[in-house]
Symmetry: C3
Subunit: 185 residues, 3 copies
């Protein structure tokens, strides 16, 4: 009944490093920590995230940090919780990972409170400076948008202090495409 | 101060395999992936889930896949996020695991939006084909049901494309019992 | 391209023990399990949690159990889900850990439904009886409070059975300070 194969010590160690890499990704987005965020990607990272009404495509670390800093700015509340990583090695120095995201995005400018779940499909690459995110895609499992409840009080809001103020934000429209028929993509 | 005992390499490897097994379980439910779901259980799996107003009891892998496919169908939004596994070995080829679930179930037919948390108590068994779920129970920590907010737009809905259409759904009532006094079970 | 350093088997084993330690912490709070909760802390644990409108400061295991049992009592619904641990060793017998919390607290006495996210910054210490929580702080990423939706039915509520009834609750005000300007702390 015993299976001979299993993870090696090095693989288990790598899995832990990759899990902590992605943990930092989520934490840095929601806390406006762009300096640490920049350390998580390869130079040539490619991003392709398919949301409910949008598609985000970004190439390169600097652009990705610029996008995240400008989108998850001092006006909005961002919550990205990543769960149940399924990571497998495609080579000794490359791994693929699926994460199940739960997120919330409260945008008072658009008066939208967006919640949902997505499946991330990542590629991680070992570099001399540790494991990095080399590619990241996601597809939405569900997304629901409501107007912000006027009875809701925001009683803590870290990004209000740490997120980019209006004058430091890039125009993110170059990375985004919008589509009409969101439920039947 | 040092403790002699700890996990062995094989145990740490097994823990990783079991975590990824349960990760696939949650992902397959929410994406309508019945083919992969069928690979996660032993033939003789037993299920006993105690919800707010319901109790689900299923025996056998085929029945479980039939139940899940018919319940998490193209009409509904399903979200199952599993957290903080506490897994311990009861023998070299068997393990027990507790997972803390957060879930949401939006059912437009009943006009209910159900959210909650549960504690899963699982048994995993090593087979020639890897670790499988041999038994699974849960108890509800809390559950809250509201009518679906008419101001909410569902802007992404994967199960609408991948879930079972009405003509392929089994009658799930044989596996479910309902009780009145949900808060005092 | 290969990195020489990685986690040792003992470190990976310790990381697993620490993850399960914190898993028990969340589970015990939400299920009113004070007996098991008391086993998770060092005698001299220090707690400093900065919420939206409150700051909780507690010293010592007995006081912490008293606080949790009295706060997460039979009247309220409590949900604490911990995610994406980032744990690093500061010495062979001490580790620091960051966890990303998602929580909900439904308090019918105050008529508040509070949801939010926090970043825990913990210190864990190895003892002859296993790893324990020696210190724990958190800062809020966001917190949102709404009156309880009158259309919401609580259809399962474990703490109603397991949480402290009014006559066994301590006065928690000695551990809490309240501040006015919650969004600009």
């Amino acid at each position: 009944m015993r299976i001979a194969m299993g993870y090696t010590l090095e693989q288990l160690s790598d899995l832990e490093e990759i899990r902590q890499l992605k943990a930092r990704y989520f934490r840095c987005i929601d806390t406006g920590n762009e300096a640490e965020l920049a350390t998580l990607f390869t130079d040539d990272v490619t991003i392709d995230l398919k949301g409910g009404g949008y598609r985000l495509q970004v190439s390169g670390r600097d652009e990705m940090v610029e996008f995240i800093g400008s989108s998850f700015n001092s006006d909005v509340v961002a919550m990205h919780h990543g769960h149940t990583p399924e990571i497998a090695f495609s080579s000794p120095d490359e791994a693929r990972g699926t994460w199940y995201l739960q997120d919330r995005f409260i945008d008072p400018v658009r008066n939208t409170d967006t919640v949902g779940s997505s499946l991330y499909y990542d590629t991680y690459r070992r570099t001399p400076d540790g494991w990095k995110i080399a590619a990241s895609e996601y597809e939405r499992v569900y997304e629901a948008v409501t107007p912000i409840d006027p009875a809701m009080s925001i009683t803590a809001h870290l990004l209000a202090r740490t997120g980019r103020p209006p004058e430091r934000r890039a125009d993110t429209s170059r990375w985004l495409t919008w589509h009409e028929d969101a439920t039947n993509d």
